[in-house]
Every structure is written in structure tokens, then in C-alpha cells.
């Protein structure tokens, strides 16, 4: 919705998957899936690249830098997209910020 405020996440945070959440590859289900308590989420290629980098070791800023390098994409765009993705995952309690 146009009026919703955009999520803002401190670039110094170290995002990591929440306890009990795992990213696994499933051939019968055609790709990567995020397994969580009693739920399964399909993860598209971009989400997978972001989530794989959310190990708790790298800061959000470092993750964004890495993605900008890897995909030769504008940093601001990546910040916006990654922030939206991570905010959505955090709201579902799949990710800790």
C-alpha cells in the first residue's frame, strides 16, 4: 500500500535466522524452502542469496555491500529491497535483527 511507511533497519545489525528456522534445498519442491515451526515458505533466488548471508556474522551493511558487488546493482536499490525482505521475515518471526 502506498501509504505504509517503508521499513528501516539499522545497517549495523547482524541479521540471522531465528531459532528453529532453516533454509533447505528440496528437489521434490523445486528449489529452496524456508522451514519454520509448522510452516514452509518458498524462497525465490534473490531471497535465497540474501538469507544465505544472514549468518549473524555479517552486518546488514556488509551484506548489502556484498550483494551490490555480486550483482553490480545500485546500493540504494539493494538496501531498499533487502530491508523490505528482512522486515517481512522478522515480522513473521523467521529472522532476528
Amino acid at each position: 500500500m502506498a501509504d505504509e511507511p517503508k521499513a528501516v533497519i539499522d545497517l549495523a545489525t547482524h541479521p540471522h535466522l531465528a531459532r528453529g528456522v532453516r533454509l533447505v534445498h528440496s528437489e521434490p519442491h523445486g528449489g529452496w524452502v524456508l522451514l519454520a515451526p509448522e510452516r514452509v515458505f518458498k524462497a525465490d533466488a534473490i531471497a535465497v542469496e540474501v538469507i544465505k548471508r544472514c549468518t549473524g556474522q555479517a552486518s546488514l551493511g556488509e551484506i548489502v555491500d556484498d550483494l551490490a558487488r555480486t550483482y553490480s546493482a545500485p546500493r540504494e536499490r539493494i538496501v531498499a529491497d533487502v530491508t523490505a525482505l528482512l522486515a517481512g521475515l522478522a515480522e513473521k518471526k523467521l529472522l532476528d535483527l
Partner: protein, 362 residues
Amino acid sequence: MASIDRTTVPNPLGLLAELTHRCPLGCPYCSNPLALDRREDELDAGTWARVFREASRLGVLQVHLSGGEPASRRDLLEITSAAHDVGLYCNLITSGIGLTRARLAQLAAAGLDHVQISIQDSEPASADHIAGYEGAFARKRALAQEVVRLDLPLTVNAVVHRANIERIGAMVELALELKATRVEIAHVQYHGWALANRARLMPTPAQVERARTLIEQLRDRHRGHIVIDAVVPDYHARYPKPCSGGWARRSLNVTPTGMVLPCHAAQSITGLEFWNVRDHALAEIWVSSPAFNAFRGIAWMKEPCMTCPRREQDFGGCRCQAFALTGDAAAADPVCHLSPAHGVVAALATVTEDSPYRYRRM
């Protein structure tokens, strides 16, 4: 029978493993069948291990260790390890009764991923009365603390009906206090024992409407702190739910004696032929069992479902409910306001009775 096109049968995501029908509680809303399976007929741990291996190969990602009360099985650790060892995500669906701190720690070490504990109410006396077990509430609370202490994610499941529907807010507060990451507000569905107790459980339309509004508010208030999953009370709905994500599309259920069902209530539909894991491999059952193919896809549909734009959204609702309320498992779920039998549901939704519960007992 038409040959099955294996390319269009989807791979299942989840397996509900009903390890036993034994349970110390007697909740009147239990969805287990009235004819509970005897202990001596239960599958052994070795057979469950084989079922889990086959499930994993079939594409199943999550197993829900349930029952009855899964902790009533002394070999729960062996069973859980077997599921973990083939890569399944393990959910324990428990009343909390029968699990000690030590046992839970062993399960966590063996690879248990998540624990769901049921609560019957936010008020201890009422909760114990609904469960038919004195002291249940206190034990659940203590176990919830252990789950969190072991760093396992916790879900609180609250089945909602007339006796506790006014305390949804308090139940969510309790879930927050117990540090659950998720709370399921599960309006009761009328199968098994819940069906037998329907008039004692049925909320009033006013209560349902208040609950619906409250849940929206609670979601806004607690966004980011806890996930609130709510299963709608479909006797008061306009459209039916896509029951189990569609018949034989996403999940399968193995009973304590090894019968494989497309959903936990499917045995209530007469005339279906179910296969057993003792006789067939799981993949064969998933693809070829007559019960699984009975309502797959849309070819079985009658009007108004067949030409309805929602047919692949809700799949005509619940087959078991259609059968229970109309006698025809291929009819539209009469929860749907477009069903010619909708009046039946509308009438039943107003029938309440204040007699003592028929407690679920073996």
C-alpha cells in the same frame, strides 16, 4: 478407474504422525475419531522410522509428531531421532503432560525443532475443567518454560469455543508471557469428539464477531512480537476454508495403526478405501490409494463448485464436513453460502446446549 497421471500429483509437504491415541487429557473438542485405536495395535518405532524414510523421499519436509499425546509413547525419543535423521523438520504437538525436563532435553538433543503446547484457557480452573485433568494448566506452564530454556521455538495452541472465547485476549497475553513466538487461535472444527460435543462447544454469532474483531486488533498490537495464526470458525463463515490445502495435495496423515489418510477426519467418509503402511510403501499410497484419488483435482466436483471461480482456491471446502452435514462427500461444503444445504449450517450454528461435556476417553 482412470490411470493416474503422476506428473500432476503434487509432492506432499507435511506428514501428521499420530503416534498413539492414548492421552491423559479428555478434551471434548478432540478431532480424533470416537473409536480410538488400542495401544496393542500401534505401529512400532521401527515402522515409523521406515515411514519417515519413505516420507522424506516423497518430498515431505515437516513431520508433526502428534496423537493423542505423543509423549505417552515411551519410545518417543527413538521415533523423533528417526525423523530427524532422515532430514525431516520435527514439530512436537503436545499437551505437555507426560514430558519431563529431562525427556524434553533429550528430544532437543536428538534434533527436535519445535514444540507446540496446547492451552485450554487462560484461567487455570476453567482450563483444567475443559481438559478433564486437574493440574494440567500448571504443568503446561512449567513445560513451556523448559521449552524456552532449551532454546526451542514455542507455539501455544488454544482451541477456542463457547467456554473460553471471551478470553482470547488473555490467552494471547499468556502466550506472550510464556515467550511463544507463535500462538494459534484455533476455533474448534467439528470432527470426531468435537462433533459429538458440538452443541456444548458452539459459540454464539455475537461471540464469533467479537472474536474476529479482537483478533484483528491483537494482530496490529502485537505485530513483530508474536505471530497470531487464527483458524476461522467456519460454521459462521460465508465461504469454506481450503481444507488441508486441497484433498491429497499438501499433506498426509498416518494413524496409530498405520492407516494413511488424506486428512485426520477422512475415515468418517463411508465408502472410501484406505491403505495401510504395513501393506504398501508410502509413495504408492500417496499416488495410487483410492482414498487419496477420490477427491483429487476438480473432476469430482458437482455444482455449484464445478463452475465456481473459487474452485481452485477453496476446492469446495471440506469433504468430511460435506459428508457429515449432507451425506454426500462430493457436495459443496455447506459452510459455503452458495451451497443449497447452507441452511443446515446456519441452523446448527445457533444450537447451543449447556450439558456436561462428553470427555474424550479411551
